[in-house]
Amino acid sequence: MASEEKVTQDASPSSENGRPKPTPIEVTHPERVDPKAVRLLREPPWKLRLTIEGDRSYLKVKVVRAAPLSQPSRYVCFLDGKDEVVCMVDDLSDLEAGSRRITLEELDRRYLTSRVERIESIRSDFGVSYWDVQTDRGRREFVVQDVSENAQWLGERRLLLIDVDGNRFEIPDLDALDRRSAKFLESVI
C-alpha cells in the first residue's frame, strides 16, 4: 500500500524529463498576496479577523489546510464567511510571528486528529476491530469497520485510521511504537 503511493509520486517528475517546456497557461490568482501583508487578529478575543495590510479586512475567517494529509505544515488557506478563498500562504514561516501563532492555534482547533502513542488493545471479530489507544488527547476507544478500507497509508510508516463515526487517528511512525503496540497493529494491518 505504501509503496504504490511512492510510484505515483516518482512517476510524474521522471516523465517530464524528455518533454518540451510546458505551454504557459493563464490563471488568475486573486488569493496571491504577500504573506508579510497577512495579519490575523483576535478582536474581540473570540472573533478572528483577517487583514491584508493596506487592502482589505475580513471577519469570520476560517483557516484550513489545502492538503491536510500530505502537506500538513504548508499551504494554508484563509476562507471568508462564504467559504471563498481569501488567500493562500505556502509557507507559514513567511507569516509575521503573531499571525503565525494564531494560524497554528486555529489549525489545531480545526483538525481534531489524534496521534496514537500507544495501543492498549485491538480486538477484532466479525470484520470489525475494536481499538483502545492512548493518544496525545488522552485514552480513547473506537471501532473501525473493515480496516483495509478505513486505514490510509500516508507514507511508508505513517497510518491514518478513520473510525465508524469519522474520527481520525494518526499513527505518525509505526516504528516508533512500542513492541506490544506494534504487535497489536500487526494483527490487523
Partner: protein, 750 residues
C-alpha cells in the same frame, strides 16, 4: 434526581460529582430539559463536559476535578450554532454581550449536538422543546460495546436462541420433512457407530482364536449391511436437507424482498443500496449455508461426540481419560489458530479484491491510460498488487497447512497413549485386542469433529448476525399502504394545497421552512430556484415519499396523510431527467404504468410521446430490448419512452423533473411537443434548470431559503426584476460563455 421531569435520549445519566456541581449552580426546583455529555475539553483532550439546559439557563460543567462551571442565562443567548470541524465539532452559544461559551465534541457526538442545538434554539425562541424521541444507537444497550454501524446489530449480543427459534419457525410448513430429516440423521449417526463394535468381535471371536468361520461370514455381512444402510441414509439426508434448506431460505428471501418494496423511502436514504442488496443476497446466503451444511454438521457431530464418548467410557473408562488428554489442547489450539487463519484469509481476499478493482478500473479506463501513455505505470502498479496477492496467499496457505499438521500432531498424542497403555492392558489380559482396535477407530471418529470447533462458532455467529439483519428489515414498519381509515380517492381532481409546510431530511436543516401554495386542477406550475433549494423536496412531499414536519399538504382538500396511498401514487406520474427503464422490451416498459394495457394502447401512447417513429425504425420494433437500465437507448429515446409510460399511466398529477435537459435541439423539440400533449388537463409540477423551458407554465414559483419568494408568469417575473430575473440573466451570460468556448448555443435562452 428529584427535579428530573423529562426522560429520553437527551437526558443522559449524570455522574454524582457533576450532579453536585449542578445542584450548586441552579435552584433545585428548576427542571432540567436537556442534559448531555460532550467528549472533548476546551483543549481538545478527551475529557467530559456536561451541558445542562433548563428553562432559565444553560450550564457547561466540567466533569473532572476542575471547577469552572460556565453559566449562560437563557435570555442572554443570542444565537446557537454548531461548527463542523475535521473529526468533531463545536457548539457555540453566542451571548448578547461578551465572549461566547463553547462546547467541543468528537464526530461520534456530532449528530447529538446538532439536535441539541436545535432544541436550545427552540427554547430561546420560546417554543416548546421538541427533540426526537430516539437517536441512532452507537453502543450496544446490553454490553456497551461500540456497534459496528449505527443502529446496527451487536455481533456479540445476538440472541442466538431466539434467532434460532425464529429461523426454526420457517421450517414449520415443512415439519414432516424436517422431522424425517432429524430421524435420518440420528439413524445415520448410529449406523456409523456400530462398525467398530463388529470389528471388535471379528478380532476377538474369530481372528484371535482362529475359529468360528460362520460367525465371520455373518459379521462381514453385517458390516456390509451397515455400510449400505449408512450410505442410503446419507443420500436420503442430503437430498432432504438441501430441499428443506433451500426452501426455507427462499421463503425468507422472498418475504424480505416483498417487505423491502413497501419500506418507506427514508429507509433507503439512510442505507446504501449495496448494504440493502447484500441483506437479500449475502445474509440469506449465509443463512442458507448454515441451514444446509452448518446445522446438520453441528447436529451429527454433536451426536457423534456424545455417542462415541459414551461408548468409550463403557468400554474402558481408564483409557478414555488418556484419549481425552489432548482434547483441551486441540480445542484451545484450534480456537487460537483459527483466528490467525481467518485473518490471513481476510488479508488475502482484501488484496485480491484490490487487484481485481485495479483491473476493472484500468481496463474500463484504457482510453485514458493510452491517451496519457501510462501503460508502463499501470503495469508496474499491477505487478505490485499481484505480488501482494501472491505474498498473502503464501502466508494464508502456509498457515492453513500448519494448522492441520499441528492439530493432527496433537491428536496423534492420544493415539500414542492408547497404544501404550492399551497394549499394556492387553499384556496383562485386562483388555482384548478387539476392544483396543475398536477404541482406536472411535478415537479418530472423535477427533474429526474437533477440528471444526473454532469454525462452528464463527459460522453460527455470522449466520445468526445475518439472520438478525434480515429480521430487522422484516420488522421495520412499512409504509401505511393498508391503512383502513384512509380516504379512498379513486378519481382525484388534482388540486394541491401547501399550507405552511416545513420539512427537512435532517431535522436540524430544514429544507422547506414555510411553503404556502394553492394549485388548481390542470394548472402547470414551474418550480424555480438554485439547486438544493427544495424543488425536488416539494415533489417528494407530493408523492408522499416523506411526510411534512409541520404544516399541511392537501390533495383535493384532504390531508395527504389521510389519502389512500395506493390511490395517491396511482394518479401521480413522473418523467425524470434520468429516465429509469427496467430491462425488458420497449413495449413492456411503456406498459409498466398500466398493467394489462393492450398493444393498441401502448402504440397510441408511443405516438403521443413522439416515440413511435424511432421505435418502429429499430430492427425489432417494440420488441427491442432496452438493456440494463435502458442503456441500449439514447437519452432522448429513453426520455420519450418514459413520457409514453407516463401517458399510458394517465395520472392526474404530473411531475416533470428536468425532463428536457441535456438533449440536442432537434430531440428536445420532439420531447417538448410530447410533453405539451401530456400536460393537458393534468396538474403539473415542472422543474427545469433551463428557465426558458418553463415558458408554457401557467405560473412560475420561485423558491428561496425554504420559502416562496416570487410567484407569477414568466413575463410578470421578468418585469419584476427579482430573483427570477437575475437567474435568467446569469443563464444568458453562461450560455454566451459556452458559445465563445465553441459549445452549442441555446436557441431558447434569449
Amino acid at each position: 434526581m428529584e427535579n428530573q421531569t423529562t426522560t429520553g435520549p437527551f437526558m443522559e445519566r449524570i455522574p454524582p460529582e457533576v450532579n453536585a456541581k449542578l445542584r450548586a449552580a441552579k435552584p433545585s426546583d428548576e427542571p432540567v430539559l436537556i442534559q448531555v455529555v460532550a467528549d472533548l475539553a476546551d483543549d481538545s483532550s478527551f475529557r467530559e463536559r456536561w451541558l445542562v439546559v433548563t428553562g432559565q439557563r444553560l450550564l457547561v460543567i466540567p466533569s473532572d476535578g476542575a471547577d469552572g462551571t460556565v453559566e449562560v442565562p437563557m435570555e442572554q443567548v443570542k444565537a446557537v450554532r454548531t461548527e463542523a470541524l475535521i473529526g468533531g465539532g463545536r457548539l457555540e452559544l453566542e451571548r448578547k454581550q461578551g465572549a461566547p461559551a463553547y462546547l467541543h465534541y468528537t464526530s461520534s457526538l456530532a449528530p447529538k449536538f446538532a439536535e441539541v442545538a436545535e432544541g436550545i434554539r427552540q427554547l430561546t425562541k420560546g417554543e416548546a422543546l421538541a427533540l426526537p424521541e430516539e437517536v441512532p444507537r452507537t453502543r450496544c444497550p446490553k454490553c456497551r460495546r461500540l456497534l459496528p454501524e449505527k443502529d446496527g446489530i451487536c455481533p456479540a449480543c445476538v440472541k442466538r436462541w431466539d434467532t434460532f427459534l425464529r429461523i426454526a419457525n420457517y421450517l414449520r410448513p415443512y415439519r414432516g420433512k424436517a422431522a424425517t430429516l432429524v430421524l435420518m440423521t440420528v439413524a445415520g449417526t448410529l449406523t456409523g457407530l456400530i462398525p467398530p463394535i463388529i470389528t471388535r468381535h471379528i478380532i476377538d471371536d474369530v481372528l484371535t482364536p482362529r475359529a468360528n468361520f460362520s460367525l465371520l461370514v455373518w459379521l462381514a455381512l453385517g458390516l456390509l449391511g451397515l455400510r449400505v444402510l449408512g450410505w442410503g441414509l446419507e443420500v436420503g439426508r442430503g437430498w432432504l436437507n438441501v430441499w428443506v434448506g433451500s426452501r426455507t431460505t427462499a421463503d425468507i428471501r422472498s418475504q424480505l424482498y416483498r417487505r423491502m418494496q413497501y419500506l418507506p423511502l427514508k429507509v433507503f436514504d439512510r442505507r446504501k443500496v449495496g448494504t440493502l442488496i447484500s441483506r437479500i443476497t449475502n445474509d440469506s446466503d449465509r443463512l442458507e449455508g448454515f441451514l444446509m451444511f452448518g446445522l446438520p454438521h453441528l447436529f451429527t457431530n454433536g451426536l457423534m461426540l456424545v455417542g462415541i464418548l459414551g461408548l468409550l467410557l463403557y468400554m474402558s473408562w481408564g483409557l478414555t481419560l488418556f484419549v481425552l488428554l489432548p482434547v483441551p489442547a486441540i480445542i484451545l489450539g484450534s480456537l487460537l489458530l483459527w483466528k490467525r487463519l481467518m485473518a490471513n484469509w481476510t488479508r488475502w481476499s482484501a488484496r485480491w479484491s484490490r487487484l481485481s478493482s485495479h483491473l476493472n478500473e484500468s481496463i474500463s479506463g484504457i482510453r485514458v491510460v493510452k491517451a496519457f501513455s501510462q501503460e508502463r505505470r499501470e503495469g508496474v502498479r499491477f505487478d505490485q498488487r499481484n505480488e501482494g496477492v501472491r505474498e498473502a496467499s503464501v502466508t494464508a496457505d502456509r498457515s492453513w497447512f500448519l494448522f492441520f499438521t499441528v492439530i493432527n500432531f496433537l491428536m496423534s498424542f492420544g493415539v500414542f497413549f492408547v497404544w501404550y497403555f492399551g497394549g499394556r492392558q492387553i499384556l496383562r489380559q485386562e483388555l482384548t485386542l478387539g476392544a483396543l482396535m475398536a477404541f482406536i477407530s472411535y478415537l479418530w471418529l472423535l477427533y474429526g469433529p474437533l477440528h471444526w470447533f473454532g469454525e462452528i462458532n464463527n459460522w453460527m455467529t455470522r449466520a445468526f448476525a445475518g439472520a438478525e439483519r434480515i429480521f430487522e428489515i422484516l420488522d421495520a414498519p412499512a409504509e401505511p399502504s393498508e391503512d383502513p381509515d384512509a380516504v379512498p380517492m379513486p378519481r382525484m381532481e388534482g388540486r394541491v394545497t401547501f399550507k405552511e409546510v416545513a420539512f427537512g431530511y435532517d431535522r436540524v436543516k430544514p429544507v422547506l421552512k414555510a411553503i404556502d401554495l394553492e394549485v388548481a386542477p390542470g394548472e402547470m406550475i414551474g418550480l424555480v430556484g438554485r439547486s438544493g433549494v427544495g424543488k425536488s423536496t416539494m415533489i417528494n412531499l407530493i408523492c408522499r415519499f416523506y411526510d411534512a414536519d409541520r404544516g399541511e399538504l392537501l390533495i383535493d382538500g384532504v390531508d395527504i396523510r389521510k389519502v389512500r396511498l395506493k390511490d395517491l401514487r396511482g394518479q401521480i406520474g413522473m418523467v425524470h431527467q434520468e429516465s429509469f427503464l427496467f430491462s425488458g422490451a420497449i413495449a413492456e416498459n411503456i406498459g409498466y404504468g398500466k398493467p394489462g394495457a393492450s398493444f393498441d394502447e401502448i402504440v397510441r401512447a408511443a405516438k403521443a410521446a413522439n416515440a413511435h417513429e424511432f421505435i418502429v425504425a429499430k430492427p425489432d420494433g417494440y420488441d427491442t430490448p432496452v438493456g440494463e437500465r435502458g442503456d441500449k437507448l439514447s437519452g432522448g429515446e429513453k426520455q420519450r419512452i418514459a413520457i409514453a409510460r407516463a401517458i399510458l399511466h394517465d395520472p392526474k398529477i404530473l411531475i416533470l423533473d428536468e425532463a428536457t435537459s441535456s438533449l440536442d435541439t432537434q430531440t428536445e423539440k420532439k420531447i417538448q411537443e410530447a410533453i405539451a400533449r401530456l400536460v393537458k388537463g393534468r396538474t403539473t409540477f415542472a422543474i427545469a434548470h433551463r428557465l426558458s423551458t418553463l415558458r408554457s407554465a401557467n405560473r412560475l414559483v420561485v423558491i428561496d431559503d425554504g420559502k416562496i419568494a416570487e410567484v407569477g408568469t414568466h413575463e410578470e417575473l421578468l418585469t419584476r426584476q427579482g430573483i427570477f430575473y437575475r437567474l435568467v440573466q446569469t443563464q444568458k451570460e453562461t450560455s454566451s460563455v459556452v458559445a465563445v468556448g465553441g459549445g452549442k448555443d441555446d436557441p431558447n435562452a434569449k
